[in-house]
């Protein structure tokens, strides 16, 4: 069976009877088998996926199939799927079985998508290389000696290697866009609160967004319109109506979008020259297509990443306090009393990166340091959000790289946490500001490794964002 570039082609072939959902599932299962060395999946659900495929094939024949009939999906190991294991790639959730569906998962199922498996990621979605998983690193399918990015590394590689058509990941500081860039994919982080977080394992609750990996913008649009929107189970989710994103892609593109490019990013030390050049070439295409590009200043650029690390670790330390070895997951066999039960279960169950972030978060929230670190970062966050929104009042989009480098070798940054954190240098701004951002492929470096371009838009401007990025992928 051939590899499909878009879900639209799949649906077309399903409708005319040239393809069945069972063919699709078998195709992906066979790829998963062939590519098992990539370590992208932690669990695969073959019988169940095939059974569901046969059911949906029948629905297609009867004309009663849902909007996503034939879409084979992988989910990052942070999304709850009833009756299936869920453990955020952490030993501390060994043996945990979801007792309910995440809202996003429920909506996929309701629309007749088929879930094929649970995907490897950095432990508790903390990382930029997928090397902190308790189940070992995920390999980039473009070069098996390199990382796929993180934290949603398995979800990215699964789409890259055609192990599924799309993946759901999560993006707290770039965890969808950065691996999408390293694997040559489209990756969307929507506006904060656009998609319900119910059933998503929490890391930094004021940053966490469910995101979508796909081979094309169109597939992202069709999935987003299904999973976004109001939900009784999440009091923070936006109640704004959800546009028909896929349909809006076919509208005529505005002839003259205003695009901003940030000087401080172009000047950034450590930005790989080929990435700078690829973005410059794309900016030329944008201008040639009749849009305007202005270079603007964003002097807060260097403060975005430290702000993120203070606030995200603070939230993580609070969110991860629930893993105590009492109600679910791992309990140390070495315990003598309640105190040692907590300490030993957590120290043996969490990996070192997760422990580091819990400690940092606890430190910035502790009474003596709260104002100097936590409150200060919340103030800088307001400034970053306001400045970003100011730019987006004057411009339709901000365009920038997603990553300072292309995919790096496994083991490059594992000894130096700050080096690893810098991999998120350009992606965190959208999370700190809460605005939507997307990764789209933008050529390759001289080793043939994918380069990603990032487009940022204002709150709830996903229609415009998808529309423009779709056009970008077609500008050459």
């Amino acid at each position: 069976m051939r590899t499909y570039a878009t879900f639209r082609e799949i649906q077309h072939d399903l409708q005319r009877g040239a393809l069945t959902c069972q063919d699709l599932v078998r195709h992906h299962l066979s790829n998963i088998e062939k590519k098992s060395h990539l370590n992208a999946f932690l669990s695969v659900f073959p019988e169940e996926a095939l059974e569901r495929a046969s059911l949906i094939d029948q629905k297609i024949k009867n004309g009663t199939a849902g909007k996503l009939a034939g879409l084979v999906v992988g989910i990052k190991d942070v999304l709850a799927y009833t009756g299936h294991p869920l453990q955020a790639s952490s030993k501390i959730l060994n043996g945990f079985i979801s007792q309910f569906n995440a809202t996003a998962v429920q909506r996929l199922l309701d629309a007749d998508a088929i879930i094929i498996g649970r995907q490897n990621c950095d432990e508790f979605a903390m990382g930029s290389s997928n090397e902190s998983s308790a189940f070992g690193p995920v390999l980039n399918d473009a070069d098996n000696t390199r990382v796929p990015g993180g934290s949603s590394g398995g979800s990215a590689v699964a789409v890259q290697a055609d192990l599924c058509q799309i993946s759901l990941g999560s993006d707290t500081g770039g965890s969808v866009r950065q691996p999408a860039a390293f694997c040559g994919l489209v990756g969307l982080k929507p506006t904060y609160s656009r998609i319900s977080r119910y059933g998503l394992i929490a890391y930094g609750s004021s940053f966490d967004c469910i995101g979508i990996f796909a081979k094309c913008v169109e597939d992202v649009a069709v999935v987003l319109e299904v999973i976004a929107g109001a939900d009784d189970e999440d009091s923070t989710v936006s109640r704004l109506p959800v546009p028909q994103y896929a349909e809006e892609l076919s509208r005529t593109l505005s002839k003259s979008y205003k695009v901003a490019y940030v000087r401080e990013i172009d000047d950034a030390e450590g930005l790989q020259p080929e990435i700078r050049d690829a973005i410059q070439r794309k900016l030329d295409h944008i201008k040639n297509a009749g849009h305007s590009v202005d270079v603007i200043d964003f002097p807060l650029q260097e403060y975005v990443l430290p702000t993120y690390y203070i606030l995200a670790t603070a939230e993580a330390s609070s969110n991860l306090s629930r893993y105590d070895g009492v109600r679910y997951g791992y309990r140390s066999p070495q315990t003598t009393d309640l105190q040692s039960l907590y300490k030993k279960s957590r120290s043996e169950g969490f990996g070192k990166e997760v422990q580091k972030r819990i400690l940092l978060g606890t430190f910035v929230l502790s009474a003596s340091y709260y104002d100097a670190y936590y409150t200060k970062a919340q103030k800088v966050r307001r400034l970053i959000r306001e400045k970003t929104k100011d730019i987006l009042k004057q411009y339709d989009f901000i365009v920038m790289p997603i990553t300072p480098t292309t995919a790096f070798k496994i083991g490059t940054h594992t000894d130096n946490p700050l080096e690893m954190y810098l991999a998120d240098l350009f992606s965190v701004q959208a999370n700190v500001a809460g605005v939507p951002a997307i990764a789209v492929p933008c050529g390759e470096d001289k080793l043939g490794l994918p380069i990603g371009l990032q487009v940022i838009a204002d709150d709830f401007q996903e229609s415009k964002l998808l529309h423009f990025s779709d056009a970008l992928t077609k500008m050459n």
Partner: protein, 95 residues
């Protein structure tokens, strides 16, 4: 700011974590580097700026207080590392 062993132990206790000698060394080194790095924020003038405390656009989302089915007893206990018929079990708390 240097994260020394006393401070590490204090934070570790608050976090209900513990470290042996070797891990503590590495943790102190990494944390000191990270804390020094985030102190960069001190350069930003935030006089008169209110902390941003919520990112949601929804304010006071309320719903009717209706009784609905919740996770049943059996399902809630299913993932417990140690349980009896009705409770989670932990080591003895009171002598």
């Amino acid at each position: 700011m240097k994260i020394d062993r006393t401070l590490l132990d204090k934070i570790a206790h608050l976090s209900r974590l513990e470290f042996d000698e070797k891990d503590a060394e590495k943790m102190m080194k990494d944390m000191t580097a990270i804390v020094d790095w985030v102190e960069k924020l001190k350069e930003v003038n935030t006089d008169g700026v209110e902390p941003l405390t919520t990112m949601s656009h929804e304010i006071n989302m309320l719903r009717e207080d209706e009784v609905k089915p919740h996770l049943d007893h059996e399902a809630a206990l299913l993932n417990a590392p140690k349980k009896d018929d009705v409770y989670f079990r932990v080591p003895k708390v009171l002598e």
